[in-house]
Symmetry: none
Subunit: 215 residues, 4 copies
Amino acid sequence: MAIKRQLPEIKRRIPRQARAAETVAAILEAAAQILEAGGLAAFTTNAVAERAGVSIGTLYQYFVDKNALLLALARQEMSAALIEVGRALSGAGDPAPESRVRAMVRAMVHAFRGRSRARKAVVQAILAQGLGFEMIGPINSFIANIGSVIGPDATRLPPLAREQVFVLSRALLGAIRAAVMEEQPFLQSRAFEDELVRLVMSYIESIARDAGRPL
Amino acid sequence: MAIKRQLPEIKRRIPRQARAAETVAAILEAAAQILEAGGLAAFTTNAVAERAGVSIGTLYQYFVDKNALLLALARQEMSAALIEVGRALSGAGDPAPESRVRAMVRAMVHAFRGRSRARKAVVQAILAQGLGFEMIGPINSFIANIGSVIGPDATRLPPLAREQVFVLSRALLGAIRAAVMEEQPFLQSRAFEDELVRLVMSYIESIARDAGRPL
Amino acid sequence: MAIKRQLPEIKRRIPRQARAAETVAAILEAAAQILEAGGLAAFTTNAVAERAGVSIGTLYQYFVDKNALLLALARQEMSAALIEVGRALSGAGDPAPESRVRAMVRAMVHAFRGRSRARKAVVQAILAQGLGFEMIGPINSFIANIGSVIGPDATRLPPLAREQVFVLSRALLGAIRAAVMEEQPFLQSRAFEDELVRLVMSYIESIARDAGRPL
Amino acid sequence: MAIKRQLPEIKRRIPRQARAAETVAAILEAAAQILEAGGLAAFTTNAVAERAGVSIGTLYQYFVDKNALLLALARQEMSAALIEVGRALSGAGDPAPESRVRAMVRAMVHAFRGRSRARKAVVQAILAQGLGFEMIGPINSFIANIGSVIGPDATRLPPLAREQVFVLSRALLGAIRAAVMEEQPFLQSRAFEDELVRLVMSYIESIARDAGRPL
DNA sequence: GATGAATGAGTGTTCATTCAT
DNA sequence: GATGAATGAACACTCATTCAT
């Protein structure tokens, strides 16, 4: 059994009181706003503290350094996005494969829409540190089981191979991410959604065909 | 007190002498090395000048500012990658669609391999400035005509729609980029290549099918 | 890459604590000393901070930029000089016109004596920015009413015309300034004072005569 | 007899050939243009050389350093102004004192009008170096004899005292200079000219009266 | 003589972080 | 716990000046 790599202590202290929790929330919200408004360039600890209405000293009481703040924000935003996607998928009405894929795609596009500059900056910073893996992990495992999620019991696909999970998840995320970052006007259009669905469906169908179990 | 009328020129002077050309090359090479070794964080004008073996003043004789240097590097790296891909594609022996796609995929993976951190940093910085479009433009137009490149004359596809070009190019690039950035061990494996080919082929086939011209 | 959204505020923060006020005073005093010792050429933010015994960061905590520091110093020096002149004038014993003019002239010469290089540099810098009007404003309005200040109630002059105020104030200031700048040995002599008084008195008398109300 | 203080060598070489003289002229003209367009801040040796159409090396062939260039320019501009004033005075028609003073005043205002920014910058720089005396010397001696210039033979005044010359010249110059530097709209108005004339005339008359020789 | 590529000390300014109060 | 004044290393960038060609 692999030893869990202990991540370096992120928080200086665990907030035990209601007030402390509020303070942390205020700081994170301020960080997101600053990021949204001015990008990574405007993201300074002093600016965040000021907007949060706390002193710079207080900020450092809860976050060891600037990076810890960024990481905490990244985790918060990512998990929010994942929850949204998960909810969309579990509540899908039509059980047809394509309907479920479409629901997922729509949820992802939606999740990446609001506060796009903040998310973009966070993603950028995270990637720059090579921590992308940690953050994308949940999405990864989610797509790994896409076969079972999609197919009816009879034609259920076996779990995808490592490379297949990788290619599918990164291709999908990559296309959405690029649309967000380049601020493409068609980001929320039906046509774009259609093509994303086509991307996923055709890939899965190809795998299913090769496995002798066409959907 | 630091405000100056600054004409919007990119290069400060066009190198007319052999020595100057060498200097520019040295600076660009140094920039790539610094980026490769330490990422965007280590990319300071002073560090680049020092590694290039020139004074900081000389660096500024050829690049208006730090950003211009980054842009110049980006253009250089991008065009190098594109040339590699183009060559691979034009020189493909087997005219079968899948062979050609495979050649392209292989060239792209190859192109993105060496000096990955430098390329990563460059790409990151470019995207952060919203200049992604300019840099990715050539790749875009390349994929836009993929239909005609791939199909036999009889079944030649019409040019892809804007959203289709976008989704296909970004999905493919996104998957490769992620593999590079996350330093995935399978980056150059046959399995990974196979899946990338599958991604492209299944997508194109799906379009062809919808257009009533199956490959 | 050095571009930032900068709100147009002059002071970065209003000093709320005693220590802060001391720091600001120390910086201003240091600035005056540096200017006095080496003129505008020696006036660098680093030099000022060092002489003030604070870090460069502290200096920037109280002054947005070098210019703001210069402006603050200018305001301080100017108002000090004006207060001196005002005091001299209000406290004059002899109400005879010439006595009052002499008191004013003496106060101005006195005010411009100490720390002449500092004042000179400050004035120079202010003028270079076209802010001369703002700084000289108080002196202007002071001289504008010189007629009423000087004359007995019966012969009180009407307010001077714009051009008259200008010529009289600039002529007087110009002569004093030149004596200071050229370090004329007679700066504080009685003879020099006499001639300045003559300059003002003869000008005013000429105006009074034209207005039909000889003093 | 006082030993003439040998001014530090200004020119590196005395231009002996026509071409060299042209080059020097071009550089000085370029310097004036740069100064006029962008003030002292834009006045860099490289900018001057470029506008003059010569290499920076050539500029340094004729001027030891930046300061020498500035000084040369100052001398040129000053003497041009003086010549203008002298011409105006010698060619005056009406011999009445006030007419002659008016001619002089008008010439001075005129001389300081064109290329005001350049002159302003030059004056500023000169003063900052404490070389004001050298430059204003000619003007000084000009005003010293104003008495004899003005009065008819019978009432000719004796030469003014040192302090009187100083006060009159500096007062007049100061008023004009201030109007130029503050870019006063009335600079060329008749009203302004009238007041300058009044300033000079009333001062001279006062002296004449004290000397028992009213004009 | 002329050129212009190269130099590098020096400037203004930022911002993450500390610590005395 | 909270504050915010103070710190100072680090950075981008300028420009007068030199000197090999």
